[in-house]
């Protein structure tokens, strides 16, 4: 177990020293800052625009990071054969996979925290010195704590994406892994349509297939409460809790699969 911690810390260290990652975070922070300027162009909608853009930036750049690092984590070690030195130390293969996963989640956590800080800084600036009348026109306060629940679910979504990227990277190259992960992510956002599929088709078999896929494929829509939060609508705590649970169980299953494949494979 101790090994998992050391491996995770090393993943974090690797990403901290990666210039590409810096550029992604810097770009995200810049975009969040620019949302303030955009907001000034649209009277009345200013706060909504900042929130929409901020949350979208965190989600998108988080996704970019999760895929960009996730697909290379295992593959790079195997391809460059640094894994020879590591796996002959007293660790088990599942500890390696779990360590990599935890390390990447840790990295994402820190980066999302940085983006969130930038986001709140812009919101605070926007809300500064606004009079009571204008304040009342907003559906939600600028530094609404509910935003944090939206961000938390983004993070949970990223944990799922990371698990999937890691799974693919245990047996395929980075390009294929990226395509497959992104593909699943896109499909996972239209998952609800699969559910409705059975209402529009005649065929029994097709309906069953659609239903099976609906349960098997990840459902990324679950994690998207951005719109509700920005509108100031209440999101039930039970919904959030259930989504978090889903976001824990699914990666656990995916990682089990990754370990099963990884434990049996030869390193060329």
């Amino acid at each position: 177990m101790r090994a998992i911690g050391h491996i995770a810390v090393n993943v974090f260290r690797e990403s901290v020293r990666d210039k590409v990652l810096y550029s992604i975070v810097a770009f995200a922070v810049m975009l969040i800052a620019v949302s303030y300027l955009l907001a000034q162009l649209t009277a009345g909608q200013d706060l909504k625009i900042i929130k929409d853009l901020g949350l979208a930036s965190i989600a998108t750049f988080g996704l970019l990071m999760a895929i960009f690092i996730g697909i290379g984590l295992v593959w790079k070690e195997v391809e460059r054969r640094s894994i020879y030195g590591l796996l002959t130390k007293p660790i088990r293969r599942w500890e390696f996979i779990l360590g990599k996963y935890v390390g990447l989640v840790l990295t994402l956590l820190v980066n999302v925290a940085v983006m969130t800080a930038a986001f709140y800084a812009v919101l605070a600036y926007q809300g500064w010195g606004v009079d009571e009348l204008a304040r009342r026109a907003w559906p939600a306060p600028p530094m609404d704590p509910a935003l944090l629940s939206a961000i938390a679910l983004i993070l949970v979504e990223l944990m799922l994406v990371t698990g999937i990227a890691l799974f693919f990277s245990t047996f395929s190259g980075p390009f294929l892994s990226a395509v497959l992960t992104l593909g699943l992510w896109v499909i996972g956002h239209f998952n609800t349509d699969l559910r409705n599929f059975e209402n529009v088709v005649e065929s029994r078999a097709a309906a069953w297939l659609a239903r099976g896929l609906y349960y098997a494929l990840p459902n990324f829509d679950t994690f998207d409460i951005k719109a509700q939060v920005v509108q100031g609508q209440h999101v039930a705590a039970s919904y959030i809790a259930l989504s978090v649970l889903y976001g824990m169980v699914y990666p656990a299953l995916v990682l089990t699969g990754a370990v099963a494949i990884f434990s049996r494979r030869d390193f060329k």
Partner: protein, 322 residues
């Protein structure tokens, strides 16, 4: 109990995409290596040395057969705790410094922070990495990486070490350092298993060797045994020997060959079965003087070339099966 034991260890790779067929990388290797031995694993390129080492490290799984280290199956975490491994052409992490890499690996053995620093710096001293230890490994040359690879293999004071071509990429001084290091390991009671195709390394270091060719074990044993049975004979160098005296000696004494080195100076070769004293007495009587007398040993190199040439070449399985 042996330090290392393999039983009919076999690895077939599947090659060919359209018509996959097995390719024999290692066939039924059975070896026993005792504690404290320095064992040389020799063979030409593609013989299956690296394949064997990777099987012992469980980086690949055998097609059939079995291997044990220190009485436990390979891949066991308890085994990994007590061994060290230098991969062929080692590569580690670009973004770590040599120091950080060793401390990271040391941490995986559960060493305390102070202990990690102590071990890392002592080992880097031992393999001759100086101030460069603070550089990221991406800036390391091949030979420097090789040294870091050797250092990381020793981070846990292993009882058994596996070196895949430890001398590769090293300069002459570096090779000598590593030779001395292997001897120091032996003196500490460490079992050393190393692969090489540099025979002089094996001659200088090993108590026993195995020779592998085309995935099959062709010979194994103590170097002295392997070489003792192949003493070729004697070589006499004499001067002041006239051609008539030479012709006379050649007709009677069973000389296998004579090479003219200069005026009245010859190197004469005698088979093992003929004691050189008689011939020598004759030649001296004919007015010649002895310059040197040497036993003709077969070198490991001669032996190696012969063994490898005799090894069966077939590595596909189709013909052996039917």
């Amino acid at each position: 109990m042996d330090a290392i034991r393999t039983e009919a260890l076999t690895k077939h790779f599947t090659v060919g995409f359209w018509r996959p067929r097995p390719y024999l990388a290692l066939e039924a290797l059975t070896l026993q290596i005792g504690h404290g031995e320095v064992f040389g694993f020799l063979g030409p390129n593609g013989a299956g040395k690296t394949t064997t080492l990777k099987l012992l490290m469980q980086l690949i799984y055998p097609t059939s057969g079995h291997a044990e280290i220190l009485g436990r199956p390979v891949g066991d975490v308890e085994v990994k705790r007590r061994i060290g491994y230098l991969p062929e052409n080692p590569y580690f992490y670009d973004y770590l410094t040599a120091e950080e890499l060793l401390e990271y690996f040391s941490a995986l053995f559960g060493h305390s922070a102070a202990e990690r620093r102590r071990r890392a710096s002592a080992l880097l001293d031992e393999v001759g990495i100086g101030a460069e230890r603070r550089l990221q490994l991406r800036k390391f040359s091949k030979g420097m990486l090789q040294r870091v690879g050797i250092a990381q293999a020793l981070i846990n004071d292993p009882e058994v070490v596996f070196f895949d071509e430890p001398m590769s990429g090293l300069d002459p001084l570096g090779r000598r350092h590593i030779r001395e290091l292997i001897l120091r390991l032996r003196d500490r009671g460490c079992t050393v298993f190393f692969s090489s195709h540099v025979l002089s390394d094996a001659e200088a270091l090993c108590s026993r060797v195995a020779i592998l060719a085309n995935g099959r074990l062709v010979s194994q044993g103590a170097l002295s045994e392997i070489l003792a049975v192949t003493i070729r004979g004697w070589e006499l160098v004499v001067s002041g020997l006239t051609e008539t005296a030479l012709a006379h000696a050649q007709s009677s004494a069973g000389i296998r060959g004579a090479t003219r080195l200069g005026p009245e100076r010859y190197a004469l070769e005698l088979p093992m079965t003929v004691p050189p004293e008689h011939l020598l007495a004759k030649l001296v009587a004919a007015g010649a003087t002895l310059v040197s007398l040497n036993p003709l040993h077969d070198t490991l190199e001669d032996f190696f070339v012969r063994q490898v040439a005799a090894a069966p070449e077939e590595r596909g399985l189709e013909s052996t099966r039917g």
